[in-house]
Structure formats: C-alpha cells, structure tokens
C-alpha cells in the first residue's frame, strides 16, 4: 500500500477500538488503501483483532483490549501500509429492480428535486455500473457510488420507520440496497425482488467492496420470477 502521497492518522476510539483515517488527494487511491488495509487487518484475528469496517476513507478496528492495545494496533497498521498497492479485479453483478410506485415511493420526489422526469431518473440510475464502496448495515448492505443526478439528493426530512427489504435508496451521490426491513432516511426509488443476503451460503453476500452493480429495470409483473436468493439467480 506504499504511496508517497498517502498519509494516515490513528485515533483512539474508546477503550477497545481505533479509527485509521487515510489521507490522499486521489479518492480512488484513498478508498483502495482503506480497503486493502481492511482486508489485511481482518487476517489478524489471532492477534486480538475483532471487527474491521473499511468504508470510504477510514478503517474502524475493534480489538480485545485484554490481548492487544491501541499502540500495538497502530504499529501493525503502519507495517501494513508499507506494503504495495494491488488493485482488485472487480466482479460484476446485475440486480433486477422495479422502479417507482409502491416499490419506489420517493421516485417522483427525486425527479422533482432534480428537475428531470421519472424516466430520466430510471435511465440515470440503471444506465451504468456502480462501484460497491463497502458492505455495511443493515446485513450485507452494499454502499454504492452514483447515481449521477444533476443535483445531490437530500435525505428524507422525516426518516421512514420501515424500509421494505430489497429497497434501493439514494442520498447525495450514493445508493444503497436495504437487505432487511430497517428504518432509514434515504429516498427509495425502487425495490429488488432478489434476496442478496443468504444465511445458507458462505460468504453470506456474493459481492465485496470494489465489485460493480448494474441495475436492470423489470416490470412489477416479473417480480415473482425473480423472488429468489441471489445465488439461485442466473443472469
């Protein structure tokens, strides 16, 4: 992960965690460094590392404070950041989605905010591949780049108490898929019938940070044809 322009800061984050911030002017370098550091730290469970969350520009690392301490974790991080950057080869996934209506209750609002038609919203959202930046909560939610709407879509003024599982929501220039019923504050444009999180498979989600997702618009009448777990779907 060696890069002359990349520096980082280490912060104590309670008695059993640290937060590593990666600094670099290049968004992609920053993100890739975060992800590779995250992967490396996940291999260190035998040293007392418990959880690692690598997101956009920071890596959260929790540990067993009876086994290892903050400065020892910082030392490991420093060593890992000395190794070379190897970009990932992304996998591509196609995710069917029903836009609008009860499936995407906020799509009209999003169109209005952007000053474009609903069809334009759909075209922009499904028109290109989006990178998965990280996998987060609720269970296995992919946090995606895009869509490139003309304006940054704000969060809902009043968060929704229950997003239906499969809801695809946007906020700013980001997109997320809710794999579980969840409260949420993002604007829902559509819903996928495919269940992405599967307890029976290992790993439980088929994708990881760096992979690409393309949304494929389908009709509500096709919902039941797709109402399956992801690993059962042949695209």
């Amino acid at each position: 992960m060696k890069d002359m322009q990349t520096s980082f800061t280490c912060q104590e984050y309670g008695d059993s965690a640290v937060l590593i911030n990666i600094e670099n002017d290049d968004y992609e370098v920053r993100w890739l460094t975060v992800q590779l550091l995250g992967d490396a730290m996940r291999e260190k469970t035998s040293l007392g590392i418990i959880d690692v969350v690598a997101s956009f520009q920071s890596v959260f690392i929790s540990f067993d404070a009876l086994v290892i301490n903050h400065s020892q974790v910082f030392e490991i991080v420093k060593d890992e950041l000395q190794s070379d950057l190897t970009p990932r080869v992304p996998n591509h996934f196609k995710i069917p989605i029903v836009y609008g209506d009860v499936f995407g209750p906020h799509i009209n609002q999003v169109a209005e905010i952007c000053g474009i038609s609903v069809d334009d919203v759909i075209e922009i959202h499904s028109g290109q591949d989006w990178a998965i930046r990280f996998v987060g909560s609720p269970i296995g939610a992919p946090f995606l780049d895009g869509p490139k709407f003309p304006v940054s879509v704000p969060r809902l003024t009043t968060p929704v108490t229950r997003m239906e599982p499969g809801s695809v929501a946007v906020s700013g220039l980001q997109s997320i898929i809710y794999n579980a019923p969840s409260p949420g504050g993002w604007q829902v444009v559509g819903r996928t019938p495919v269940k992405l999180f599967d307890l029976e498979t290992n790993p439980n989600v088929p994708y990881r940070a760096g992979d690409r997702i393309r949304f494929i618009p389908i009709l509500p009448s096709d919902w039941d044809n797709w109402n399956k777990y992801f690993h059962q779907v042949k695209l």
């Binding site: 104590e12 969350v53 920071s58 996998v135 909560s137 269970i139 579980a180 999180f197 307890l199 790993p203």
Partner: protein
C-alpha cells in the same frame, strides 16, 4: 444427562440470549447479544457454564416458571431476589431447584435487565453462531406464558452436597438506582464540540425512543456547530454521537456498523454494560477519563471475572461436580 422442560407461566419481555455476534461487522451484521454482557457472563459462570452459553434475558418484567427436572440456576443483573416455592433467595448465588418447583423472579425496581443462567445447554435455534435476537436477520423469539424451554444438564438431586444454599460466592456487582454514572474516553470528533469537555458536566435523561440500537438522551443541547457531514465510517458500541439537534445518542449493541454523526466520546466497556440497565426517565452522568484509566478499569473487571471463574471451578470440583463444569 437429564433433559428438563421449563414451562414459562408468566413473563413480560424475555428472550433466549447470549453474547451475540462480534466479528461479523464485515458483513454489516450488528453484534447484538446481552445488553449487560458482564451480568450474562456471571449468570453462566456461577452455574459452571462457559460464558458464551445461552441464558434467558428478562427485560423489566417478572419471570415465573416451573421445571419438571432438577436444575442448577443463577440469577444476575437487575433482579434483587429469587423466590423458590415462595422462599426468597439471593441473586448472584448458585441455586438448586428441585423438580416441580415454582420459581419467581420478580421484576426489578431499578435497572431493567435480569439474566437467568441454567447449568447445561439450552435448546434453541442459532443464526450465524448465536442465539441473539437480531431484527435485521428477523430472528429471535419472545418467550410468552406457555413457552417451553428445554435444557440438557448433568445436574440432578442425586448429586451430593446439594443442600441450599449450595454456595455463596461473594460476587462484586452493580447496585442500580434511577441514576447512572458512566465513564467514557473522548471521541475523535470532540474538537467539534463548542463547549469541549465541559459539555458533559450535566445530567442527561434517558428518552423513551431508546432501543437496543441506541439510547437517546436529552439535556442541555450540545453545540456541534455546522461543520460538514462526516462520511459513513465504522462506529464502536458505546459511541456517544451528537446529531444536529444536539441531543446525545449512545450506540448500543444493535448499532449499525457505520454511522455519520460526530462521535464526541466512547463509553468504557464497563459503562456500556451499566448503561444497558438504564430505563427511560433515568438520569445519566458521563465522566470523561483518560485511556489508561479506562483500560485499567477494564482489566480490573476482567480479573474479577476470571477470579470468580476459578473460585467456582474449585468449589464445584471440591464437591465432585466436575461433570457440571464447562468453563
């Protein structure tokens, strides 16, 4: 090995629980598990179980049950007493329950979480290695009157030395009131707090919107300024967040693994257990300590737990109860 059927006769809110699913944040799976981890561990340790065994977590209510086989149990957490066939016994004590007994664990006056440890293995479904309920996994079943719990245990009354009280281990534990004093270390965004560390010198009130994901606190609004949004990033359990409204949110074990509000402090491990006992309307004071003291506090707590474990082990062995031990 005996199989005991425990019939729940009366209960408010209770679930089968364990220490949760740490280590799965990479999948966006929350830790969950017993809100008061220390009390859950002690309930297991005092009946000879490994810390990680399933226990019953009762929240703010009575639990009444009848067993059809002999049991070795221990009650920890907020409850103050255990009635066995109407005779009162102590919590944090290893108790023998003869078959046919009715056990009443009265709901607590202060605090809210009570743990019932039972020697042996509770039957139940696990997901991703844990019994812990998780609303996102749509997993976990509330016990109701009429629910049956099944336990496989090597304990029975034929075992020698079963007179009550079986043991009296002196177990240091929390005494709850309406007031909770917590310790925390400063968080990464404390510099955004206009009042700095002084902002914490006040009492906060637990709001009713609190749940297993987060506890909301009201108080004199904290001024976090208008600096830009924080990109989603990993957050620890116990993080003290300040949303733009200025109230405090303490993230609990059901927290989503990433969040974007400024984190001004993080509760110590010991205080996360403690705060999980606070109810809406209770008051919470947060005192900021340095990291060395936080770690010392943590090590002291763990030393006491390990010491208890070894005392229980020795006591069980001295009565020839080796087969009951799994810790």
């Amino acid at each position: 090995m005996n199989t005991a059927n425990i019939s729940i006769e009366r209960v408010g809110y209770a679930v089968i629980q364990d220490l949760g699913r740490p280590g799965l944040a990479k999948l966006g799976v929350s830790a969950n598990g017993a809100g008061d981890q220390r009390s859950a561990r002690l309930a297991n340790i005092l009946v000879g179980n490994d810390d990680s065994h399933a226990v019953v977590e009762v929240i703010g209510s009575d639990l009444v049950f009848v067993t059809d086989a002999d049991l070795l149990i221990c009650v920890t957490g907020a409850a103050k007493t255990v009635l066995i066939d109407e005779l009162p016994h102590g919590t944090y004590e290893t108790l023998v329950i003869p078959a046919g007994s009715r056990v009443i664990i009265p709901g607590p006056e202060f605090g809210q979480r009570t743990y019932l440890g039972i020697n042996g293995e509770l039957h139940g479904k696990r997901i991703l290695g844990s019994f812990a309920p998780d609303s996102f996994l749509e997993f976990g079943e509330r016990l109701t009157s009429g629910s049956q719990l099944i336990v496989d245990s090597s304990f029975d009354m034929e075992i020698p030395g079963n007179e009550l009280p079986v043991f009296r281990f002196s177990v240091p534990h929390e005494i709850y009131s309406k007031k909770f004093t917590l310790t925390a270390t400063l968080g990464p965004d404390v510099s955004r707090l206009k009042g700095g560390e002084q902002s914490f010198v006040q009492e906060f009130e637990v709001l009713p919107q609190s749940d297993h994901v987060g506890m909301r606190l009201s108080g004199v609004g904290l001024d976090i300024g208008t600096a830009g949004e924080i990109l989603s990033r990993g957050v620890p359990i116990g993080a003290v967040e300040v949303p733009p409204s200025g109230e405090l949110i303490i993230l609990l074990r059901g927290r989503l693994v990433t969040a974007g509000y400024p984190v001004v402090a993080v509760l110590t491990k010991c205080s996360i257990d403690r705060v999980s006992q606070a109810r809406p309307g209770d008051s919470v004071a947060i005192s900021i300590i340095d990291m060395d003291r936080a770690q010392l506090e943590l090590r002291e707590m763990e030393t006491k737990i390990q010491d208890l474990k070894s005392r229980v082990g020795k006591a069980f062995k001295s009565r020839g109860w080796e087969k009951l031990l799994s810790h």
